[in-house]
Structure formats: C-alpha cells, structure tokens
C-alpha cells in the first residue's frame, strides 16, 4: 500500500517543493579521476611534443641544479633558509611554462623555482630567503606575486586579481600554488569559493608532497583526495602525477585554457613528494623513514622524463649533457652572484611604510641617522 492509496491521501497533502531545490550543477564532471593522471610510461606518451618535452627536460635539470645550489648556499651561510623542491621540480616547471606573459603566478614560500622558471632572476627570487629585503623584485614586472609565507593567504589574492582582470576585459589567468597543508586553512576555502562564485580565471595548484613540515597527509585530511575538495565549490578537480611533467603540463594547460575561455577555476592536486627536509633547518628523520623516501626517489621527475625521452629517441647523451652544462653555468653564476654581500641602506627601513613618511617615522629616521653617523665617526 503506497501513500497514494491511503484514504484521503491525495494531491492535497503532498506539496511540490519549490524550484530552488534542484542542484544547480551536476556533480559528476567535477569529480577527479580515482587515479592520478599520468602520461610518462603510459600509452598517452605517444603524443608527446618533442620540442616541448626537451624544453621541460632542460628546465627540470636546471631546476634540480638550482635546488642543489640553493641548499649549498645555506651551508655556506649565503642563504638564511631554503625550502627545497627536490622531487617537486615537475610541478614547479610546469606551473611556470603553462602561463602566458600577461598571466600571473602566485607562489608559496616554497616556489622560488617556479618563479625562476618563469623568468625571474634567481638572485631576486632568493632575496627573501637570504635575509635581504622581503620581496626582491617588482611583482608587476614579471607578474609574480610576492612569495607567500603565511600559508594559503595568497589564494584569495589570486582570485581578486583574476577577477579584476576579467572585469577590465583583460586576458589574464592567475595560477596559485599551495601545499597540502595549506588546504586546511580557512583562506583556501574562502578563495576557492570566491573563485567559483565569480567564475574567476584562476587555477589552483596543490602540491601534495605528503607532508606539512612533519605532519603527514593522513593527519591533515580524511578526504579521498585533495582534488575531491573541488566538488564542494562547484569547480572541477583534477588529480595528477606531480612527478610526471608531461601530465602536469597537459593538465595545467587545460585548466589555464578553460580559465582563459571563461570556463572558471579548476583545482588540481599534484601528487608528489618532498625528497629533502622541509627546509635546511629541519630534520626529516624525526618523522619519516628512509624506505618511503627511497620509494619516491625511484619515481623521480627528472629521471622519469629522461627515461621516456631517451627510450623514444627524443633525447640522447649529447642532449643530456647540454642540459647539464647549461644548469652548471646557471649554478656557477648564481653562486658567484650570491657571494657578493648585498648592500642594504638602513635608512630604507622608513621608506614605503606609507606613500608619505609620517611625522613619527621622520623622527625615528632622524634618530637612526644620528646613530649611524655617530657609529661612523667612532
């Protein structure tokens, strides 16, 4: 006996729910694939663009060398601190390569490599980590936002900038980078929500490198994957092998294209691994075992590409050597330039607090001036 057959039970006691009820979009296309998308070592590698892949390879080799050089600089006291991206170079490089000139990159504190790969002078990129001025470059010149130390706070900036560009009718996409740990912050949530509501041309790239300092992903989230977070904002989520530069390039490019075409934001989770410690100041042996690190080393982004390209005859010994040589040149130049002690003017402390110095800053500047003069004389 169904309710319809009940005595007195007719249309009268049922009501049609108002239309606001219907889900406004279908969730299925937003869901990521169950497995990270891969190209290298799969049939999809068939269609690799040789020129692009050789460029990626050169950048990966350079990126790896950059990481090594930066870490060496910390040991020599030339850098105060360096968060390495060894193992994550495919993410960093792909992020830089998929953007057009007019697009914007919003790096986290870890992403100096992406900034460098986008064309930023490595010395300028490392200013912050050297203990020199906070931002060593003009963000507008390279369209690279300041490296963001407060986690996830750069994400709403990317949304606002992309939204503003769209309102102005400009063809600009913003790519914002964040770590797995950063996805737990409220700012991550608010940024993705704003982006989806405004259909802003933003791509959110989460580098899931397994850890937030010492905290493993399992203590960070219970989500099936971080890419699944997309569905809650009404944007597509993509899961991709972050060590596969070909896959990274393809998935990021697609998201950038979509954003550029007015299709709105995308959330991409790149599954990768931080091979080195959190920074040179960290001791990773306190929270993870060698076996895990070794397993990931066997899935190295540089080697993955090198093997694929070699196997396909797209790269030979000479090509490898050429990339390595170029990287060595970059490293040597960087080392030399970083050896020069930067010269900072203490009086700059009072500049750029406001457009115009306030009275109290003038007073304080005078005091410091007098102190410096006195020092000089003694």
């Amino acid at each position: 006996m169904t309710v319809q057959e009940l005595p007195g039970a007719g249309a009268s006691h049922r009501s049609t729910p108002p239309p606001a009820w219907r889900p406004r979009t279908d969730a299925a296309p937003l869901l990521p694939d169950p497995e990270p998308y891969r190209v290298l070592g799969t049939p999809a590698a068939e269609k690799l663009d040789a020129a692009l892949m050789r460029r990626c390879y050169a950048e990966l080799v350079r990126g790896r060398r950059y990481n090594a050089q930066a870490t060496a600089l910390t040991r020599q006291g030339r850098l105060a601190v360096y968060p390495s991206t060894v193992g994550q170079e495919a993410c960093e490089i792909a992020a830089a390569l998929v953007l057009e000139e007019q697009d914007w990159l919003f790096p986290s504190y870890r992403d100096t490599l992406a900034a460098v790969a986008r064309g930023l002078d490595p010395v300028q990129a490392l200013t912050l980590l050297r203990g020199d001025w906070h931002t060593g470059y003009d963000p507008r010149e390279h369209r690279i936002a300041p490296l963001s130390t407060p986690l996830a706070t750069q994400l709403p900036h990317a949304v606002g900038l992309a939204h503003a560009a769209r309102l102005r009718g400009d063809d600009v996409v913003a790519l914002a980078m964040v770590g797995d740990g950063g996805t737990s912050e409220g700012d991550f949530h608010e940024a993705l929500n704003f982006a989806a509501v405004w259909q802003a041309p933003v791509v959110f790239l989460v580098q899931n490198n397994g850890f937030a300092i010492s905290v493993p992903l399992a203590k960070q989230t219970a989500a099936p994957t971080l890419a699944h977070k997309a569905v809650g904002y009404g944007m597509p989520g993509r899961l991709v092998d972050g060590n596969d530069v070909a896959a990274m390039h393809e998935v990021l490019s697609e998201a950038v294209r979509r954003a550029r075409a007015g299709g709105g934001p995308t959330l991409i989770e790149a599954v990768t691994y931080r091979i080195e410690a959190h920074t040179n100041a960290d001791d990773a042996t306190r929270y993870r075992g060698d076996a895990e690190v070794e397993a990931w080393k066997a899935h190295d982004p540089v080697e993955l590409l090198e093997r694929e390209l070699t196997a396909r005859g797209m790269l030979d010994e000479a090509g490898i050597q050429e990339a390595k040589d170029a990287a060595e040149v970059m490293a040597a130049t960087l080392r030399d330039r970083m050896n020069a002690e930067p010269v900072l003017d203490p009086m700059d402390l009072f500049e750029n607090v406001y457009a115009e110095q306030t009275g109290r800053l003038r007073e304080q500047a005078e005091m410091l001036r007098a102190e410096l003069d006195a020092e000089e004389q003694s």
């Binding site: 963000p139 949304v159 929500n193 704003f194 509501v197």
Partner: protein, 332 residues
C-alpha cells in the same frame, strides 16, 4: 560666492555620497562586502550604488571576511581601488591575518612596487543597543599596526570629506564609522560637498583655555556636550577632534595642551592598551613642563562590551568626563 542650498543630511547619506562621487569620478573604485549590493548594506550606506554602477562595481560577496579582504588585495594588485565594507566591528576579525600580514605590509615588503589603495569601512562602537559582537571599538588593533591609516569621522561633513580622502589615498585606510552617529544630522549640501581634506589633520572643534579634551568619532558629541556643561563649573574646555588616529596629529594636540596645561583623552574603546594610552604618552613627553596635572583618560571599562541594558554605564558620558576634569589638580 555662490549660495548653496544647505539641507539636513545624515552621516549615512554623506558616506553614501562619498562613495557615489568617488565611483563616478574613478572607474577603478569598486565597493564590495556582505549585503552591500541589492540591500545597500545593513546600514544602507551603499544604498543605490549597485543600481547606479552595476553589481560588478558594487558587489555582494560570499560571507567570508578574510576572502573579501584577500580578494580586495588581489584587485588592488591589479590596479583597482576597492572599498570594502565589514558589516560590524567584530566581523572584521576573521580578516585579521590578511590585514596584518598583507594589507599593512604590502607596500613595504615590495619596496613600494605594490601599494594597496584599499579602504576598509568598519562600522564601530556601541550605543546602538546591539547584541554582543556588534559594538566593539576595535581601533587599538589597527592603531598598533604600522602601514595602516586609521581614520574616523565625527561629523557629517567629515564623513564625506574623510571618506573621499581615504578612497583617494594610495595607502590602505581603516575607515571607522561611528555607528551611533550614522543618523546624526547636519546642514550639508550634497550637491556641493565640502572640499576634501587630507588625512592626518586634527581639528579644534571648540576653543577653550582651562583644559583640552582630546577625542574622536562617537565621543566627539559627548565631549562637546561636556564642554558646554563645564561652563557652569567655571571651566572653559577646548575640544580637539583627532579625525585620524594614524597619522596622529601630534602638533595640533601638543599645541592645544601647551596652551591649556591640562588634558583628558576620551574614547569608547577599552582604556588599557587603548589608543588613548599612546596619546597620553606623547603628551607627557612633549608637554612635560606645561602640564599642571597628569593627563587623564575617560574610556570604556576594561571589560568585554556589555549587553545593551548596561552599555550606558560603560560608555564615557558627560558626568564622567566632568568628574575627570575635576581631578585635574585645580587646587595647585
């Protein structure tokens, strides 16, 4: 000399007009916040702006203050001039990290390459019978943060002029709107609003010789009333309206106190660690040999903002100001 038709206008109207005129003059000015569009804001300060300039220029955002301010940062990075409304004082707190770590520091950390011309409008203070979290005087947090300007009007005319100046500023401005003065009225011609003063100049609202009352925002009318009442006691009080807490017009304050030799700072915010402490500290430093008595303060108590039924006891009132003036060692 033209005759202008002065009509009674409220502070709310003057604020609305300031945004309207700024938006009309400068297409990069964008207003954003919760309920600012269709509704015109819960205090109706943005009334009509969405209609006149479109929802893209006056935007109802999702309900997330850090997101609002963070998005405004990005918009300003791209060259827009966002005017953000925080619905109430306490609801600006979720945006605190964005404010302190980015808004206040961006110009400095980029060595001037990336100034952020953002105006953050915060209705503040009590006296409107609001339930908890709707009456905070949060200025101490902003005042203690280098990189922010902190501005607060006390009159209809200043509401217009200071908001225009704030929107025109290339620096971030915390624009504190005294809620309980939203409906205060003055003769004011919206068709020919007064010239826009710069930020950072205090005004002597009443000259006097016995002592100086230093105040701002919602406490200005109270101080003026107290000054009137003080005449009966034989005191001729000067009243200084700071108008901006940062920059702080030390010259104007010091000049007044050197003249009168006595001073009382009046504000609604909690006393301990409040903006009044800084003002007192500077006065005693710069006027040491002119002072006949310690500089005193009349402030909100050092308690969480009380429920509406008790707020009258918390807020600085005429009697408490007069009692404090009486403690300025007149016998000496």
């Amino acid at each position: 000399m033209t005759t202008v038709a002065l009509k009674p206008a409220t502070m709310a109207q003057a604020l609305q007009r300031a945004m309207r005129d700024a938006m009309a003059e400068d297409p990069t000015v964008h207003v954003m916040g919760e309920d600012v569009g269709t509704l015109g804001g819960v205090f109706r300060i943005t009334d009509g702006l969405a209609k006149e300039f479109g929802e893209e220029r006056c935007t109802d955002t999702p309900l997330a203050e850090a997101g609002i301010l963070g998005a405004a940062v990005g918009m300003a990075m791209y060259g827009l001039r966002p005017v953000v409304e925080m619905q109430f004082d306490a609801f600006a707190y979720p945006a605190f990290e964005q404010l302190i770590s980015h808004v206040a520091k961006m110009r400095n950390r980029t060595r001037g390459a990336m100034p952020l011309p953002i105006t953050i409008r915060v209705p503040y203070g009590g006296g409107i019978g609001g339930v908890e979290h709707h009456s905070d005087s949060s200025e101490a947090y902003y005042v203690a943060t280098p990189g922010l300007h902190v501005v607060t009007p006390a009159t209809v005319e200043d509401a217009y002029g200071l908001l225009r100046a704030s929107i025109a500023s290339d620096d971030p401005v915390i624009f504190l709107e005294p809620k309980r003065l939203y409906w205060s009225k003055a003769q004011w011609d919206p068709a020919a609003p007064a010239a826009v003063p710069g930020i950072g100049k205090a005004l002597v609202r009443r000259t006097g010789t016995s002592a100086t009352l230093i105040t701002y925002g919602p406490s200005l009318p109270v101080c003026l009333e107290a000054a009137e009442a003080a005449r009966e006691e034989g005191w001729d009080l000067e009243v200084v309206d700071l108008r901006s807490l940062v920059p702080f017009d030390e010259e104007a304050v010091v000049a007044s106190v050197r003249r009168t030799g006595r001073a009382v700072v009046v504000h609604e915010a909690n006393g301990f660690g409040g903006p009044g402490a800084e003002i007192v500290a500077r006065i005693q430093e710069k006027c040491f040999h002119h002072l006949e008595a310690p500089v005193l303060r009349v402030t909100g108590f050092d308690i969480p903002y009380p429920p509406p039924m008790l707020e009258k006891h918390h807020l600085p009132g005429v009697d408490r100001i007069l009692d404090t003036v009486a403690r300025l060692q007149w016998e000496n």
